[in-house]
Amino acid sequence: MSSLQDVQIAFKRYLFNEDNDIASRIVNTPGFDSHQRLSIYGNAYRSRLIEALSIDYSALHNLLGNDEFHQLGLDYIEFYPSTYYSLRWFGQNLPHFLKTDETYKNRVWLGELAEFEWTFVNAFDAKDVKIVEIDDAAQIPPDSWPGLKITLHPSVYWITCSWNCFAIWKAIKNASEIPVPQQLQDPVSFLIWRQGLDTRYRSIEPDEKVALEAVQEGNNFAELCEELVVYLRPEETALRAASLLKTWLAEGLVGELSIE
C-alpha cells in the first residue's frame, strides 16, 4: 500500500469515528495540537452533511428541533455516508432510514414527512421536457382514443400518507401551530410535480391515483378506463378518464401523447 493511500485510509477512519490513528501522522504545534487540527475536519465533515439534510428536510428539522435533527443527522451519516459527487443525492435514503431505524421507526410520521419533502427535491430538478397542451390533444381523432398512451412529465410523483404529515408540513411552511401527529382514518395521496419552474402539489382521489398508476405502467386509454371500474360504473369510466386527462394537460403533467 502506498504511503499516500495509507494516510487517506487513516484519515477516513478518523472521519468515520473508527479510530484516531491518523493523529500520530499529524505535526503537533504548541497551543494547537494534532487533535484540535483534526477536529476542524471532523466537524466540517459532519456539519456540511447535516446542513445538506437541513436544506432538503427543512420541515423535518423544524419538527424535531435543532438538537434531535443534529442527532438524526449523525445517526444517518453513520449508516449512509455520501457515495455521490454531489450533495444533491446525499439525503435520498433518509425516509427509508427513518422508517426502519429502531430509534425513529415508531414515529411513523417522521418517515412520511421526510418522503414528502424528498419528493419535492426530486420534482425540483427533474428532467425538462416539453409539455403537451390541451390544444395538442384536441387534434387526436376520436377513434384513436382507446389506443392513446400518455407519458407523464418526469417531475410527476405521487405519495400516500397514513398520518397527518401534510398538515404538519403545511403548518410549518405557514409558520402556524403544528398539529399533533395522528394517524388518518383513510390514507391520503398527494401529487407533486413541477409546472414551469414552480413545484406544485395537490391531493388526489383514489381513482386518480389508480389512473396515474395505470399510465405509469404503460397502459393505454382503454386500459386506464378498465382500471377505473373499481370505482365507477363502466359507462362512467371513459368520461372520468377524459376529465382526468384534461386536468393533467392543464396542469402540465403530460410530457407526451402517442397513439398505438
Partner: protein, 301 residues
C-alpha cells in the same frame, strides 16, 4: 445537450489584446461566484460583473431552476466552471461518471476554463464533500500529475488547480506547500487558480510567510485569483466564505497583482449572503486596486 437559442458572449480578450505584464494570459476582469440567492437580481438588473464562476456539481442535474438560470445568465456573461469533487489527489480511481457529467456540462456552458482543487475529497467510494489536504511529498506529486494528465486528456483542455486552505501538516510532508503546488502544475502542465484568501488562512494556521509563497509561484501559470472572507477563531482561521474580505487579504491581493500582473479575479461568497450591492462594492474595490496598478482602460476591456 439541447440548449436552443443560446448566445455566447464575445467579451473575452483575444490573444493580441492582453494587458501588459499579464504573461500572455486571457483576462476576464472581475467576477462573482454565481449562487441561487442572486439569480433573479442578476437577470433583472444585469449587474456590472464581468463574469461568473459556477460550482460545476450544482448544475449536474437533469432540469428545473438550476439549468434554467444557468443558461440565461450564460447568455449575458462569460462563465467559468469550478468543481469540488474531482478528487485529483484521491487514491480511488478517477470517477468516470463524474468526468462524463463534467464534460457534458462544459459542452453546454462553453466555459472560459474549468477548475478544481489540489486536494482529495473522498475514499472507498465515499465523498466527504470537503477539501482534504495532501501530504507534500514526491509520491503525491507523481500521483496527482498522472491524474491531471488523465483529466486533461479526457476533457481536451488544460485545467486550473486551486490551492486549498489547510489546518494541519502531515509528518510525511518534506516540501513546502508552494513547492508542492508548483511542482504539480509544472509537471502536469496545468494552470493555477490562486486563492489569495487560502494562502492567508494557511499562513496563519501554519505560521509561514504568505509573501514567500507568492514569490515562488510561477507567474505564467496563474490564470485566476479567488478572494473571499473567512472566520477568525483567535489562534486559527477557517475558510468559510461567509464574511467580507479582510484588509490583510486585500493587502496580499495588492502584492499578488504587483507580482503577477492583471489576473482575472473572482469574489466567492457561500453563506450569510449579503445584498448583491455589498459584493459589487468588494468587486469594485478589487477593480480599483487593479486599476491603480494597471491601465484602467485595459483592465476593464
Amino acid at each position: 445537450m439541447d440548449n436552443p437559442g443560446k448566445v455566447i458572449p464575445s467579451r473575452r480578450l483575444s490573444e493580441d489584446r492582453q494587458p501588459p505584464g499579464s504573461a500572455g494570459r486571457p483576462f476576464l476582469g472581475y467576477g462573482l461566484g454565481l449562487r441561487p440567492d442572486y439569480y433573479e437580481i442578476i437577470l433583472a438588473e444585469k449587474p456590472d460583473v464581468d463574469w461568473f464562476e459556477v460550482i460545476s456539481e450544482n448544475y449536474m442535474v437533469e432540469g428545473g431552476k438550476p439549468l434554467y438560470y444557468l443558461d440565461r445568465i450564460r447568455a449575458d456573461y462569460p462563465v467559468v466552471m469550478h468543481g469540488v469533487s474531482l478528487s485529483i489527489g484521491g487514491t480511488d480511481p478517477l470517477d468516470s461518471e463524474y468526468l462524463c457529467q463534467l464534460k457534458l456540462l462544459a459542452e453546454r456552458v462553453e466555459p472560459e476554463w474549468i477548475s478544481d482543487h489540489l486536494c482529495w475529497t473522498g475514499l472507498g467510494g465515499n465523498n466527504f464533500h470537503d477539501l482534504m489536504p495532501l501530504p507534500y511529498t514526491e509520491e503525491a506529486i507523481k500521483h496527482v500529475v498522472a491524474r491531471v494528465r488523465q483529466v486533461q486528456d479526457y476533457l481536451g483542455r488544460q485545467i486550473l488547480l486551486e490551492n486549498v486552505s489547510s489546518y494541519l501538516t502531515y509528518c510525511d510532508s518534506n516540501l513546502t506547500e508552494w513547492e508542492f503546488y508548483t511542482a504539480v502544475v509544472e509537471e502536469a502542465d496545468c494552470l493555477m487558480l490562486f486563492d489569495i484568501n487560502n494562502v492567508y488562512v494557511s499562513a496563519i494556521n501554519h505560521g509561514f510567510d504568505p509573501l514567500e509563497y507568492l514569490k515562488f509561484v510561477p507567474v505564467e501559470r496563474v490564470r485566476q485569483f479567488h478572494l473571499a472572507g473567512h472566520s477568525d477563531y483567535g489562534h486559527y482561521l477557517i475558510d468559510t466564505h461567509d464574511h467580507p474580505i479582510v484588509q490583510p487579504v486585500w493587502d496580499l491581493y495588492t502584492e499578488a497583482l504587483a507580482l503577477f500582473g492583471p489576473v482575472s479575479t473572482l469574489i466567492e461568497r457561500d453563506d450569510c449572503f449579503p445584498p448583491i450591492s455589498e459584493l459589487l462594492a468588494e468587486l469594485n474595490q478589487a477593480r480599483t486596486l487593479g486599476g491603480s496598478l494597471f491601465s484602467d482602460s485595459l483592465v476593464r476591456q
